[in-house]
């Protein structure tokens, strides 16, 4: 039992170590800075610049957070501060089901609903032209995928704020809204930031759904209506040729390593903040 437990505690290190080991031959041949910053991706001639993929990932995740963040915060305030209990009871299964829908289904939904919406409605509105397979489509699908996840954390955070704090503010003559704006939200701020951080890291690693709608063109995207090629999509799309081109497998493993490191850093920071926050607020 103890052995099993130790193995589990070591698991993150094992995964990181395993990926590092497999990407070692690439790291041995190329400078780290070049790998991360170069925009030249020509596996056949041995050039592996990850910048287009990293930037695409950043674009998609940040835009998705821009969509999901406000929706989640507003809805969490609504559900915990204003809505009658029954509404929360109805929303619980809604977020549970949204959280349970598989990635590939979100991808299908993206193709049949979001891609046409972007190409036919949103892009013309902004004077852009696109097939719909774009950063924006990926971001919208991602936003919907992380909403249940972020919303649930936010609801927990708002619930953990003692009601006496609100009573104190109300009894000073503050209105309900003033109290929420200056007391509740301020108290919840570290929690909100970490919830968004967790959402960001979840979005960063999401693969299939994004891959299906984002276009997968190796360019540096310059706007939300352009296609992109996020890191997870790169890995998933090329596993087939992985062993036929020299160094290619190592490069893809390095891609997974970058993903792993970024996600871990965000997770660690967010979870530590939440833990500290809980300690302070009790």
């Amino acid at each position: 039992m103890s052995l099993w437990l130790i193995l589990m505690l070591a698991m993150p290190v094992l995964i990181g170590g395993g990926l590092l080991w497999k990407s070692w031959s690439l790291l041995h041949d190329h400078a780290l800075g070049e790998l991360l910053l170069s925009t030249r991706w020509r596996p056949l001639s041995g050039e592996f610049g990850f910048a287009p993929f990293i930037l695409s990932s950043l674009w998609v995740t940040l835009v998705s957070l821009l969509i999901a963040g406000p929706v989640c915060v507003l809805s969490a305030i609504h559900l915990t501060q204003y809505a009658p209990r029954i509404v929360l009871k109805v929303m619980q299964p809604v977020t549970d089901i949204l959280a349970g829908i598989p990635s590939v289904i979100y991808g299908v939904w993206g193709i049949v609903a979001i891609v046409p919406l972007v190409s036919r409605n949103l892009a013309p509105l902004m004077g852009a032209e696109t097939t719909g397979y774009s950063i924006l489509s990926g971001a919208i699908v991602l936003a919907v995928m992380i909403i249940p996840f972020v919303l649930n954390i936010l609801i927990e955070i708002f619930r953990s704020i003692p009601i006496e704090l609100q009573e104190a503010s109300l009894s000073l003559g503050a209105s309900r809204w003033y109290t929420i704006k200056y007391v509740t939200l301020r108290k919840a701020l570290p929690g909100i930031v970490s919830a968004l951080g967790l959402g960001l890291s979840r979005a960063f690693g999401e693969t299939i759904a994004v891959l299906m709608v984002v276009g997968n063109v190796t360019i540096i995207p310059r706007g939300v209506f352009q296609p992109g090629y996020p890191l997870p999509a790169l890995i998933a799309n090329n596993y087939g040729e992985m062993l036929s081109i020299p160094m290619y497998d190592s490069a893809l493993m390095f891609g997974a390593l970058i993903l792993f490191v970024i996600v871990m850093v965000f997770n660690l920071a967010a979870r530590l903040t939440i833990i500290r926050y809980e300690k302070v607020s009790q």
Binding site: E167, A168, L170, L172
Partner: protein, 253 residues
């Protein structure tokens, strides 16, 4: 002899999901005196107090009926702005809940709500109320630090100063010393005796000795009902009901 009645509660009942928490309450609270609401825990004393400044509004499951008159004005059945009603009363809860901001801003919060925003005026006021709560000397060098950095006894005095700053006429205190050490408790109690010159104080407690030390007037509650209300002298020495006698002897708690 009988003083003016600041608060009068008439036929107040309160239900939570079909359970009657308060049953047909009728009490009067005299002006510029300390009125203690006494009773074993769970008897509804805190709920009664919270209905006086309509904090019951934020619990959607609570249904209130009856009348609460403050200065002869019904605050339950009115379209008047509830925040104006609440400003007449300062609240001190069981544990101090400083607002998540600096010591200075905890006091200034209520002042700003009332529209006082000039910097020098705020400074003066903050100092004044911190002095009133005997906290000024301890915190004057660190007004910009978060209120959570204070000790729990200091926090409770800060909450008192915060409540006084909105210039209330009534202070509602819900077992304000229950989380404090004996010395901090004493300071709060002393403060109350000073403050009753200018304020009407309602104090909820289940500590008999504290009630005996502070009360001018006592309201005794048991299982959601008011059993007895009388001036302190009369209540402690000539209790009228069997339940009160049992409680005073310590056989109910």
């Amino acid at each position: 002899m009988e003083a003016n009645h600041k608060i009068r509660v008439e036929n107040l009942s309160l239900r939570v999901n079909g359970h009657e928490i308060l049953k047909d309450i009728n009490v009067s609270i005299p002006e510029n005196k300390i009125t203690v609401i006494l009773g074993p825990s769970g008897c509804g004393k805190t709920t009664l107090m919270k209905s006086m400044n309509r904090l019951t509004d934020i619990y959607p499951e609570m249904h209130v009926r009856g009348r609460i008159l403050i200065d002869e004005e019904d605050i339950l059945n009115t379209h008047k702005d509830v925040t104006a009603i609440r400003k007449k009363m300062g609240l001190l809860s069981q544990r101090p809940y400083p607002l998540p901001m600096s010591i200075y801003n905890n006091i200034a919060f209520g002042l700003r709500i009332s529209g006082r925003k000039k910097r020098d005026l705020l400074d003066k006021r903050v100092e004044h109320y911190l002095k009133q709560a005997s906290l000024w000397e301890e915190v004057k060098g660190r007004l910009r630090e978060p209120a959570s950095s204070l000790s729990i006894g200091q926090q409770q005095r800060l909450c008192l100063a915060r409540g006084l700053a909105v210039d209330p006429e009534i202070i509602l205190a819900d077992e304000p010393t229950s989380a404090l050490d004996p010395i901090s408790s004493q300071e709060i109690e002393k403060k109350f005796l000073d403050l009753k010159q200018d304020y009407t104080i309602v104090l909820v407690t289940h500590i008999l000795r504290q009630a005996a030390r502070l009360a001018d007037h006592v309201i005794f509650m048991y299982l959601g009902e008011v059993i007895e209300q009388a001036p302190a002298e009369e209540f402690f020495h000539h209790p009228r009901t069997e339940i009160t006698r049992a409680y005073l002897k310590g056989s109910i708690n």
